[in-house]
Amino acid sequence: MDKELVRAAIHDTCIRAVTEISADVRDLLGQALERESNETAKSMLSSMLENLDVAKQQDKAVCQSPGYPTTWVTFGEDGFPDFVGEAVADALGEATRKGYLRPSIVDPLTRYNPGNNTGEGVPNIEYQYHPGQDYMDFIISFKGCGAELGNAMKIFTTATLKLDQDFAGLKRFVLETAINAGGKPCPPFGIGIGIGGQMDIASKLSRQAISTRKWSDTNPDPLLARLETELRDNINTLGLGAAGTGGDTVCLAVKIGRAATHTAIAPVAINFHCWVARRAGIRIYRDGRIEKIL
């Protein structure tokens, strides 16, 4: 694999991620506006779509907050891609200088802001080795942090899941969390849910589900697909609406990731994503071909 070519592709992908939202989410926003019956929500959704156009015309950031960047890299037989972290950090620096990203990454305790959107553990890269894979996947996602304020995590048990009532305990937790979040995560939001593992694994699955999957896709697992649809539709019957000021669509998508867990527990992490779905991804083949995957 030609490292320079890959570095250039990563750079372009990072810049694409901060200057537009992914097409699947834009389409869902348009559909939400078409079926909306609440006047305030219509105005909010129209503003959101107009904002995307203004940002594009004026070559500006879609949102003032760059959120928190996480990158997923899967690799196979070509070996560990040690250059990815540096390539992402370079792109973040350039995007910050150009005004696409506000310098917003700080020390968690002292709140010191070095001004370049990097710091201890940032950029965060999640590397995954996939034996036998003859390409590399790169996805970067900038997730807003107002959305984080609504997040919740709970360790369920067989009894509290309400396994005998089609997981009514789990579903109540998701809806309760959505009500508590209200307008905080910039609705219409997406929700990532991680189920399984221990606390750490459920949390990572929740972020990966909502950040790396198309919001319009269908989960290949029939149980998860059914839960994703039911939860999304029932959250929307709550009436919270775009911006959380009332309306028909507060939730554009629910995406669930699953991993095996211990027989005593069922960890569930709920992770909100604002409508400003800034993410982009590419697949890089060994022969240098590059394909857009997100």
């Binding site: 940002a55 950031a61 005004g99 506000r102 209200g182 307008g183 000021t245």
Partner: protein, 198 residues
């Protein structure tokens, strides 16, 4: 329908006339302030220190703009949009004591703010979330910046707004909150869908 434009400094009586659901636009000084600026202002007030700006009748915007310096070294606003307001809930009374008449943000605030809106006479205005490029069209210039050492987002930016909006009155001075009403209705629906007991 003509635009309902309010000019800063806002008068208490005009603010008390506003009702939830009203749509307004603001012209005049808007000060951005978020976690660190609120904390700093509260400390100054507690210690009897002087505030860096006259906030009487002003609008405070829960926001951290993206600003860039031009070739002459002057700040230019690139984009600006609302941040999640609930983080500033502990400062409900501080905002009232500052003489603020309008708080702009997203996601709504809690009961302490609703009580302070009634007591001091200020309203909470909801801006369209995630619409920073569009909202920036309502900011003509950057007057100045205070406490830049706290970082670009946390600094106190004094902005010149011209028909900034649209902004929806989310909480008024009469104990009405869109967020509170929606939350109560949603909790009832939740109980019908997946009852807590059973």
């Amino acid at each position: 329908m003509s635009k309902h434009v309010l000019h800063m400094p806002l008068r208490e009586e005009e603010v008390r006339q506003l009702k939830v659901g009203d749509v307004v636009y603001l012209t005049g000084h808007i000060f951005t302030a978020r976690d660190m600026a609120h904390l700093k202002i509260r400390t100054l007030l507690e210690q009897g220190g002087e505030l860096p700006k006259d906030f009487a009748g002003a609008a405070v915007f829960h926001a951290g703009p993206v600003c860039l310096k031009d070739e002459a070294g002057n700040w230019k606003l690139n984009v600006v949009g609302p941040t999640t307001s609930i983080r500033m809930e502990p400062y409900a009374d501080v905002v009232g004591k500052m003489g603020i008449r309008a708080v702009i943000g997203k996601g709504g605030m809690g009961q302490d703010t609703l009580d302070a809106c009634e007591k001091y006479g200020y309203v909470y205005l909801q801006a369209a979330p995630g619409c920073a490029a569009k909202l920036a069209q309502g900011i003509r210039s950057v007057y100045d910046v205070t406490w830049f050492e706290m970082g670009m987002p946390e600094a106190l930016w004094d902005l010149e707004a011209v028909e900034f909006g649209p902004l929806v009155v989310g909480m008024d001075t009469h104990q009405n909150s869109i967020y509170k009403t929606l939350r109560e209705a949603a909790l009832e629906k939740l109980e019908a869908l997946y009852p807590e007991k059973g």
